[in-house]
């Protein structure tokens, strides 16, 4: 189980981005973490996976606990070895490497040849599309294929927890559905999932539990049913108003959201 407790993260020693974030991912579940642009979702991922250093960020308070061990000062490689991998925001496939080489990079921490082959076969079963493109340069894949490659790469280390940072970003609705089904498949195989999304509909349709985050902390959490029924979530994340009229949350973001959640 992953437990993020009262996490505070500061960039460049001055910019406070996470202000006491608390999130839990129980074993075997899919947990959705929702939030608008700039809420601090990616920062939370960096804090969990040891990548804050690269961005001059520091954890100044709180803890990240994985199966009872504090991992907040682990190096990224040690976190991968401990069983947490991620699909980074924007896919970040190694465009100059082939599909196979990308997968091989994802298996960097796996020393056992047999485990490696098994992981590779699992990925190929999950993404038959990649099979025919094994030797192709990853940069020439389509956006959807690249997202599948990024997910496959993250699965190569056989994680217990998979973190996906906005996997639906920039994908067509058909592909988003595919990705969603794949996440369900992966979870059915026993992998816990922390699904970070702005696309609340997609995330809440498969999550067991959800958090809504704003300005670096959780402002609401609960079962998807409860979140979906909430007026604010409907209005700001699903683009629905009470009377069913479509409206972008960006238009109302500034006055209304702050009024309700912060007062």
């Amino acid at each position: 189980m992953l437990t993020v407790a009262n996490l505070e993260v500061v960039y460049n020693e001055v910019i406070l981005v996470l202000r006491g974030l608390s999130v839990e991912v129980p074993d075997g579940s899919i947990v959705a973490l929702l939030g608008a642009n700039g809420a601090g979702k990616t920062t939370a991922v960096r804090a969990i996976t040891g990548l804050l250093d690269v961005h001059e960020g520091d954890i100044t308070k709180g803890s990240v606990t994985w199966n009872g061990t504090d991992i907040s000062h682990y190096k990224p490689s040690r976190i991968v070895e401990a069983g947490i991998t991620q699909v980074m925001e924007g896919r970040r496939v190694f465009a100059e490497l082939t599909v196979d080489e990308n997968l091989s990079a994802g298996a960097f921490t796996v020393r056992d040849r047999k485990e490696n082959t098994e992981a590779y076969e699992r990925v190929m079963t999950l993404f038959p599309l990649l099979q025919s493109r094994r030797r192709d340069t990853a940069g020439y894949l389509s956006g959807g294929e690249q997202q599948m490659l990024a997910i496959g790469r993250a699965l190569m280390a056989a994680p217990q927890l998979l973190i996906l940072d906005e996997p639906s970003l920039g994908l067509a609705p058909m592909l988003i559905e595919q990705i969603r089904d794949i996440i369900v498949d992966i979870n059915a195989g026993g992998v816990s999932v922390l699904l970070i999304e702005q696309n609340a509909m997609m995330a809440l349709s498969i999550a067991h539990y959800g958090y809504v985050m704003e300005s670096g902390k959780v402002v609401m959490d609960g079962e998807p049913k409860k979140l979906l029924a909430d007026e604010d979530v409907q209005e700001f994340y699903l683009g629905l108003r009470a009377e069913g009229e479509r409206r972008s949350f960006r238009d109302v973001k500034h006055y209304k959201r702050r009024k309700r959640w912060l007062s």
């Binding site: 690269v54 190096k75 990224p76 991968v80 991998t85 190694f94 490497l97 080489e101 960097f108």
Partner: protein, 358 residues
């Protein structure tokens, strides 16, 4: 229609070096045919000489590329590392003691043919070079991860000076023979001598490039290319960037040392000894590195060979005919070739345009 589209889709990055090469090869063929008819022995000797020099440049260039690709650092200490490796070989093979001790080097009393113990000494010297590379990376480069690349480049320049001073003064480089078994010998074609050292440089360079080709497709090599492409994404896969840096520096230092050993032999030098000139091999090879593109191994090979051919042929065929050229002018030919190359392709023949220039 489909064919026309495909033609347009051809990557211009591949086209330009091709055109450049075709022009060069075309001119060389015409010129070569004339010279070949004139004096076949001389022409062949010149060709082998140019391949020997080009291979040496390519070895040094490959060291630059390995380090640059992984760490984005132009290693200005490559020359001093080359001299240090060669110097260590001279300690082992000529002084006959384990360096910095008075214990005699056991390899030299193994018996067997001389070339075999020399070969073993080379391996030990290269292992030492790798160790120097590791230490330099750990002490001077690793702490600078995330700092401006310019600062790191300046640090390597400082290291170059430090190593040079150490080599020249503390270890008293005068003329220290390396004990190369083939000396300045060779075989004759007609009445022209072709040195064994030309052949040795070519064979070594071929082996080094094949080794790097396979390394880049191994688990560690893939990790290194991943780090080169996107450091953070590589870290997210569990790749240890520190280890990748260390391996790149160790390999770069070994290639420098190999280049350093050939820098004491014809056609680069005639002394068969390490001296104060040896460390300059890196600066002589720099045009090859830049011409090929700092981040491309194929570029290092092509750049090395082009520059080697240009320098040797210019020296051989223009010296006698153009009286106003001084004796040292072949040394500036590499820079002229580099400048022309950069005018055509600012990032080198195979370089990646995104690369920042130091």
């Amino acid at each position: 229609m489909a064919a026309a589209l495909r033609l347009e889709a051809v990557d211009p990055r591949r086209n330009a070096p091709l055109a450049f090469l075709t022009g060069l090869v075309g001119a060389a063929l015409v010129f070569g045919a004339v010279q070949l008819a004139n004096d076949p022995g001389l022409f062949l000797q010149t060709f082998m000489k140019s391949m020997g020099l080009g291979s040496t440049y390519a070895l040094i260039a490959l060291g630059f590329v390995l380090i640059f690709k992984a760490t984005q650092t132009v290693n200005f200490a490559q020359g001093a590392l080359a001299a240090t490796g060669a110097l260590f070989l001279s300690f082992l093979a000529t002084d006959g003691n384990i360096p910095f001790t008075s214990v005699s080097n056991p390899i030299n009393s193994l018996g067997g043919p001389g070339w075999m113990s020399w070969g073993l000494n080379v391996i030990v010297a290269l292992a030492f070079a790798a160790a120097v590379g590791l230490v330099v990376e750990r002490l001077a480069i690793r702490p600078m991860i995330g700092e401006p690349l310019f600062s790191v480049a300046v640090i390597t320049l400082g290291l170059e000076i430090m190593f040079r001073v150490f080599n020249n003064d503390a270890v008293e480089v005068e003329f220290r023979p390396l004990g190369v078994p083939w000396l300045a010998n060779g075989f004759k074609v007609g009445d022209r001598l072709i040195n064994w050292s030309f052949i040795a440089a070519m064979v070594t360079a071929a082996a080094a490039f094949v080794a790097v080709y396979f390394f880049y497709r191994s688990r560690l090599g893939i990790a290194m290319r991943a780090v080169a492409f996107d450091q953070e994404a590589a870290m997210a896969q569990g790749v240890s960037v520190g280890r990748v840096f260390a391996i790149a520096w160790a390999a770069g230092a070994v290639l420098a040392a190999v280049g350093g050993i050939f820098a004491t032999q014809p056609p680069v030098a005639q002394t068969l000894s390490v001296d104060q000139e040896t460390a300059n091999i890196a600066f002589r090879a720099l045009p090859a590195v830049i011409l090929g593109g700092l981040d491309s191994a194929s570029g290092a090979l092509l750049g090395g060979l082009i520059v080697g051919v240009a320098e040797i042929y210019a020296g051989q065929y223009a010296a006698g005919n153009v009286s106003w050229l001084g004796a040292g002018y072949p040394l500036i030919v590499p820079y002229i070739v580099m400048i022309i190359g950069l005018l055509i392709r600012p990032y080198g023949l195979f370089g990646t345009p995104e690369i920042r220039r130091v």
